[in-house]
C-alpha cells in the first residue's frame, strides 16, 4: 500500500480551498500579523505561483503544494530522533512528542514544506472551540507538516476493520482532496490498480516536483495540457 496524490493542474483553478480546508482540518495555527510578516505563516498546503513568459504570452501557473511524502524523504534521513519517518504505507509522518526542534528536517527538505512552532499556538477562547478534536494541537518548538490527514486513515481503517472488509478508496481522503471544488486533487493507493491515482499517475502529463533530486515524491502533478 502506498498512499499518493495526483493534482491535475489542468483542472485546478487555484481557488485556495485546499489551503483553507487543510488549515481547519489539521488545527494548523493561525499566526498573527507581526509573526506572519517575518515569514512564520504555517501552511501545510501552500499555493505556489509561477509566471511564465510575458504579456501577451503570459501564463500563470498555480500549484497547490502539500508535503510530497517522498519515497526517499530527505527530511527523515537527517532526523536525529526519528520524529519524522516514512511509515509502512508510504506516509512521511511526524511524531510531535519526539521532536526536539532542531529543524534539521526543515533545512533538508528541498520542497520547504515544513513549519515550525516558533511560539505556542494561540487561539481566541471561542475560536478554539472550532478545533478539530481528531488532531492534536502541536506544542511550541516542534516541526509539523502535512500528514495526508493520517488521522482519517486511522478512523477509516478501524471502521473497515469493524465491518471486516477492505478499506474503500473514498473512505480515506485528506481534507484538501475532499474539499477541492474542481476535483483536481485525487488521493488513493498508488499501488492499487482500482484506485484512480494509479491510472492518473501514469498519465503522459504526469510529472513530479524536482524530480531530478531522486526523492521520489508521491504527489504527482498532471501538467496543463493547453
Amino acid at each position: 500500500m502506498k498512499w499518493g496524490m495526483v493534482i491535475d493542474l489542468q483542472k485546478c483553478t487555484g481557488c485556495g480551498e485546499c489551503v483553507a480546508a487543510c488549515k481547519r482540518e489539521n488545527n494548523v495555527a493561525i499566526v498573527e500579523p507581526k509573526e506572519s510578516a517575518m515569514g512564520r505563516t504555517m501552511l501545510w498546503m501552500d499555493m505556489l505561483t509561477i509566471y511564465e513568459g510575458e504579456y501577451p504570452r503570459l501564463r500563470v501557473r498555480q500549484i497547490p503544494r502539500p508535503c510530497m511524502h517522498c519515497d526517499h524523504p530527505p527530511c527523515a534521513k537527517v532526523c536525529p530522533v526519528r520524529a519524522t519517518y516514512i511509515n509502512e504505507e508510504g506516509i512521511v509522518a511526524q511524531i510531535y512528542p519526539q521532536c526536539i526542534g532542531c529543524r534539521y528536517c526543515m533545512a533538508a527538505c528541498p520542497y520547504t514544506v515544513k513549519s515550525f512552532n516558533w511560539y505556542k499556538p494561540e487561539w481566541s477562547p471561542g475560536i478554539r472551540n472550532t478545533a478539530n478534536p481528531d488532531v492534536s494541537v502541536r506544542p511550541v518548538g516542534v516541526v509539523e507538516k502535512c500528514t495526508f490527514c493520517v488521522h482519517r486513515r486511522q478512523k477509516a481503517k478501524e471502521q473497515a476493520k469493524s465491518e471486516a472488509r477492505e478499506l474503500r478508496e473514498d473512505e480515506y481522503q485528506p481534507a484538501c482532496a475532499e474539499g477541492c471544488p474542481t476535483g483536481a486533487i485525487v488521493f488513493g493507493d498508488l499501488e492499487n490498480s482500482r484506485h484512480r491515482v494509479n491510472h492518473l499517475a501514469h498519465s503522459p502529463r504526469a510529472t513530479r516536483l524536482l524530480e531530478d533530486l531522486g526523492t521520489e515524491p508521491k504527489v504527482v502533478y498532471l501538467k496543463e495540457g493547453d
Partner: protein
C-alpha cells in the same frame, strides 16, 4: 487479569483511537479541549446553507457533543455539490468570534467615537419604538430608512416588508450586481439578469467578470471552470479574459487581454465593428428580436461604424487593433459565443455603457439565440417578489413588482450615492436609519459623505454581530445572530441556470443576548402596533420562513435536494408522476428540507423565450443622450459638457490613462478570501488574504515589472500611493499580471473596527479613491483615480 505488553499496547491503541486520536501522536488534545475529552464525543452532522456570501452553498456541519467543529460542503446541494470556499470554511470563526456583541449598545460619546454603554434589549427596543411612534404621530413615516446588505436571503425581502408596513418606501438594499445585470437590464428591461450555462459555450469572453472570486457564486463557477478547463483540451474552447488585471479568472483563461480600466465597452464595440464588417451577424435574431440596430441617424450600426473602428477602439482601450480583429473574428465565428460583463466593469464610470456594449455583442453574433446558452431567471415558487427601485425623475424609492418599473433603476445600484442625494437636497433627510449586514463607512467610496450623513440622522440603529466601521456612527447597536444561529431561506442565485432555495437553520444555540434580525424587526413592528403579517400567524422569523416553506410545498414543484442522479432519469420519474422523495404532508416536507438542506427544481431550465414580446434594444446615440438627460440626478453638474459631445464619446472621456511617469490608475480588486470586506473579521481569511502574493494579513500594491523598473522600485519595497483624497503606504508586489497603467490594490483590509482580527490590519484602498459615479447607472467608480507613487526608504 494478566495483561501482556502486546495486549496493553493494543488497548492503548484502541483507547487512543476512541479518544478521537490515533497513536500517541494524535491522542493528545490540548488542555482546553477538556470538554470534548470528557464528553461522550458523539459526532453529529447538521445541514444548513452558507451565509458568508450570496452564493447559497449548502453546508454540512460536523458537531462533536453539539459543538460545531467544522463546516464542509453539502454533497447534495446543487450549487456547490459538497464543496466550499475558504470563506465557507471559516464560518465558525464568525460564530465564535471573541468580539461578538452580546447586548445592545448605546453610543456614549459623539458620533464617530466608539465608546459604548450596554443597555437592555427592552430599553433599546423602547427607544426605537418611541422614535418610530413619533414619526407615525407626525405623519412622517417616510423618513424611516432601512439600509440592508442583501445576502440573497428571504431576510432582505422581510426587511423590505417591514419598511413598507412601517409606512416608508426608503428601503435601500446593498449588494453587488449580478453578471450582465446592468447591460441586460438596459437592453431588455430584464431584472434579475438572464442566467447562462457556461458548459454550453464554445467561446467565452469575460469583460472584467471574475466569476472565480466574486459573486454570484465562486464555488459554483470554480467547479464549472475546472470542468471547462479539463474539457477544453479536447473541445478547443477558448476562454478570453479582458481586464486591466489578470485575476483568477484571467489566470484560468486561455488568453488575457489587457485593457484600460473602464474602456471595455469600446473594446466590445470595436469587436462589434469587425463582426458587422465581416457580416458575421445573426441576421434573423437582429431582425426579429432587436430594436435600433438600423433605424436611421445615430443608430447602433451608425454608432459602431463611425466611432469604433478597431484602430480607434485600440486608441481608447490600449489593445492592439489586430488583437481586436482576431478576437472579433473568433467570437463572431463561434457557434455559441458568450460575452459576460461584471466585476471591474461594474465599478467604472462607464459601467452601464460597457455592459450594454458587451450585451450587444451577444445579440449580434447569435449568442442569444444559441441553444441552451441563456436561461430565464427562474421564478420563485411563491411567485416573484417586488424589487426596491429608484426613480431618477422623482428621486424617490419604491417597491415595485419585477420588470414593471418604467424608467426606474434598481435601488441596489445607487445605494452608495444616498448621502449625495440627501446633501444635494434631492431626497428628504431621514429621521431614523436602520442598518443591517452592510458597512457603508467601510465599503463606500464616498465615505466622508456617509460619515457626515450618518452623523446628521437623529437615530441610526445598527444590527450587527460585531462592531464594524459603521458602528461609531450609529446611536444604537443591536446584537444580531449569525447565519449559523438562525432560520432563513437563501434565494436562487442570480445567473445560475437552476432554481434553488437553501435552508438556513440554527446549528448552534444563539449567543446569549444576540437575537435574529427577523425577530427584532417583528418585535419592532409589534411595538408600532402594525402587525407585519396580518394574513398569517407569524410570531417569529422562523415562522415566516415556515410560511414560505409551506408555499414551496403547496406549489408542488421541485424537490428537496437529492443525491446526484441523471437528470434524464429524473425526467422519467417526473413523467410518471413520481418524486424522488415522498412527502405527503407539509411536516414530511419540512423534515426533508431540514435533513437535506434545501429545495431545488432540477426540471426547469427554461431557455430565454424571445417570442414573449421581448426585444433587445441596442445602444444608440439618441438613446444614450436621452438616458443621460433623464438620469442627470445621478451625476449632477456636468450638463454643459454633455451637450457639446456625442454621449458615448463623452462617456469615453472617463477612461483614464496615467499622466506622468510616476502616475497610475488605482485599481482596487476583491479576493475570494474577503469579497466585500466582511471576511476580515475571521482570522483564517485574514491570513489567507495574501495567499497568492504571500503577504498574509496585509494589503499590497501590484505593479507591472516594466513600470517598477522605470521607477527603480523592487519587490517588497514600501511605496506611498497618493491621490487627491489622501495617501496610503503599501508594500509593492511586482507581478506581470497587471497592466503597466494600473496599480492594483486588494480591497478588504484597513478596518477601523470589525473585531480584533480586522482592526488596524492592512489598508483600505477605497479611502483614497476619488468618488466618481457612472452617470447612467449610479454605480460608484473604483477605477477613476489617478495616484502617484513614490518609494519610501526602508
Amino acid at each position: 487479569m494478566k495483561i501482556s505488553r502486546r495486549d496493553f499496547l493494543h488497548l492503548l491503541g484502541v483507547t487512543g483511537a476512541l479518544a478521537g486520536g490515533i497513536s500517541q501522536v494524535w491522542a493528545i488534545p490540548d488542555k482546553w479541549r477538556d470538554k470534548l475529552r470528557s464528553g461522550p464525543r458523539i459526532e453529529t452532522w447538521k445541514v444548513s446553507t452558507c451565509g458568508q456570501c450570496p452564493a447559497g452553498c449548502g453546508i454540512r456541519i460536523r458537531l462533536i457533543d453539539d459543538i460545531p467543529v467544522r463546516i464542509l460542503g453539502n454533497p447534495i446541494a446543487p450549487v456547490n455539490k459538497g464543496f466550499t470556499c475558504p470563506m465557507g470554511e471559516s464560518g465558525l470563526e464568525l460564530l465564535y468570534h471573541p468580539d461578538r456583541i452580546d447586548q445592545p449598545l448605546r453610543r456614549k460619546g459623539k458620533k464617530g467615537e466608539s465608546s459604548w454603554e450596554p443597555i437592555s434589549w427592552d430599553e433599546a427596543t423602547k427607544q426605537i419604538t418611541r422614535m418610530l411612534q413619533g414619526l407615525v404621530k407626525e405623519k412622517q413615516t417616510g423618513r424611516l430608512g432601512f439600509l440592508m446588505g442583501d445576502r440573497n436571503t428571504l431576510l432582505t425581502q422581510f426587511a423590505g416588508i417591514f419598511t413598507a408596513r412601517s409606512g416608508s418606501s426608503n428601503f435601500f438594499p446593498w449588494r453587488t450586481p449580478g453578471i450582465n445585470e446592468l447591460g441586460f437590464w438596459q437592453a431588455t428591461g430584464e431584472f434579475p439578469p438572464f442566467s447562462f450555462d457556461l458548459t454550453r459555450t464554445d467561446y467565452l469572453i469575460t469583460f472584467g467578470t471574475n466569476l472565480l472570486e466574486e459573486p454570484p457564486s465562486p464555488v459554483y463557477f470554480n467547479r464549472i471552470y475546472g470542468k471547462l478547463k479539463e474539457s477544453r483540451m479536447q473541445s478547443g474552447l477558448k476562454m478570453v479574459h479582458v481586464d486591466a488585471r489578470m485575476s483568477q479568472a484571467g489566470k484560468n483563461a486561455t488568453e488575457w487581454v489587457q485593457t484600460r480600466p473602464g474602456s471595455m465597452g469600446a473594446l466590445a464595440l470595436g469587436m462589434a465593428y469587425v463582426i458587422i464588417r465581416d457580416k458575421n451577424l445573426d441576421q434573423d435574431f437582429i431582425n426579429l428580436h432587436t430594436r435600433d440596430f438600423r433605424k436611421g441617424n445615430g443608430d447602433f450600426l451608425d454608432l459602431v461604424t463611425r466611432d469604433y473602428s478597431p484602430e480607434r477602439a485600440s486608441e481608447v482601450t490600449g489593445v492592439p487593433a489586430e488583437t481586436i480583429i482576431r478576437l472579433a473574428r473568433a467570437f463572431g465565428s463561434a457557434k455559441a459565443p458568450l460575452a459576460l460583463s461584471g466585476g471591474t466593469s461594474d465599478t467604472s464610470e462607464t459601467a452601464l455603457f460597457t455592459q450594454w456594449a458587451v450585451a450587444s455583442l451577444n445579440a449580434l453574433t447569435g449568442s442569444l439565440s444559441a441553444k441552451g446558452l441563456w436561461r430565464e431567471p427562474v421564478p420563485l415558487p411563491w411567485g416573484s417578489s417586488s424589487v426596491s427601485t429608484f426613480s431618477p425623475r422623482s428621486t424617490s424609492f419604491s417597491l415595485k413588482p419585477r420588470n414593471a418599473w418604467d424608467t426606474d433603476l434598481p435601488a441596489s445600484w445607487i445605494g452608495e450615492q444616498l448621502p449625495n442625494f440627501v446633501s444635494a437636497g434631492k431626497i428628504a433627510d431621514l429621521k431614523i436609519l436602520m442598518i443591517a449586514q452592510a458597512n457603508p463607512v467601510y465599503q463606500a467610496s464616498n465615505q466622508k459623505m456617509w460619515k457626515d450623513w450618518l452623523g446628521r440622522i437623529p437615530l441610526v440603529v445598527q444590527l450587527a454581530t460585531l462592531l464594524d466601521d459603521t458602528s461609531p456612527y450609529a446611536d444604537l447597536v443591536l446584537p444580531a445572530t449569525t447565519y449559523l444561529e438562525q432560520w432563513d431561506l437563501t434565494l436562487p442565485v442570480p445567473n445560475l441556470p437552476f432554481s434553488q432555495l437553501g435552508l438556513q437553520q440554527p446549528v448552534a444555540p444563539p449567543l446569549t443576548g444576540a437575537r435574529p434580525l427577523g425577530d427584532v424587526l417583528l418585535q419592532l413592528g409589534k411595538g408600532l402596533g402594525a402587525n407585519l403579517f396580518p394574513e398569517s400567524d407569524v410570531k417569529s422569523y422562523g415562522d415566516y420562513v415556515q410560511v414560505r416553506m409551506k408555499q414551496i410545498f403547496a406549489s408542488g414543484k421541485g424537490t428537496p435536494y437529492f443525491e446526484e442522479v441523471s437528470l434524464a432519469f429524473l425526467e422519467e420519474l417526473r413523467k410518471r408522476g413520481w418524486q424522488v422523495y415522498s412527502y405527503p404532508a407539509f411536516s414530511d416536507f419540512r423534515r426533508l428540507l431540514q435533513e437535506k438542506g434545501g429545495w431545488w427544481d432540477p426540471g426547469e431550465y427554461p431557455e430565454v423565450d424571445w417570442k414573449r414580446g421581448r426585444a433587445f434594444v441596442f445602444p444608440t446615440v439618441p438613446r444614450l443622450a436621452k438616458l443621460l438627460e433623464e438620469r442627470s440626478v445621478l451625476k449632477p453638474g456636468e450638463e454643459t459638457q454633455k451637450r457639446n459631445k456625442l454621449p458615448h464619446l463623452w462617456l469615453e472621456e472617463n477612461v483614464k490613462k496615467p499622466e506622468t511617469p510616476d502616475s497610475f490608475i488605482l485599481a482596487p480588486f476583491t479576493t475570494l478570501m474577503n469579497m466585500n470586506g466582511d471576511g476580515a473579521s475571521q482570522p483564517l481569511l485574514q491570513e489567507l488574504f495574501g495567499l497568492y502574493p504571500r503577504l498574509y494579513w496585509n494589503t499590497w500594491a501590484e505593479m507591472n515589472p516594466k513600470r517598477a523598473k522605470g521607477l527603480s522600485i523592487e519587490d517588497g519595497d514600501l511605496i506611498r500611493v497618493s491621490s487627491k483624497k489622501g495617501s496610503v503606504t503599501l508594500p509593492v508586489k511586482i507581478v506581470p499580471t497587471v497592466s503597466p497603467e494600473i496599480l492594483s490594490v486588494p480591497f478588504g483590509q484597513g478596518h477601523t473596527e470589525s473585531g480584533k482580527y480586522a482592526k488596524n490590519v492592512g489598508t483600505n484602498p477605497i479611502t483614497i479613491i476619488d468618488p466618481r459615479v457612472d452617470p447612467l447607472s449610479g454605480r460608484s467608480s473604483w477605477h477613476s483615480t489617478h495616484v502617484r507613487v513614490e518609494k519610501i526608504k526602508k
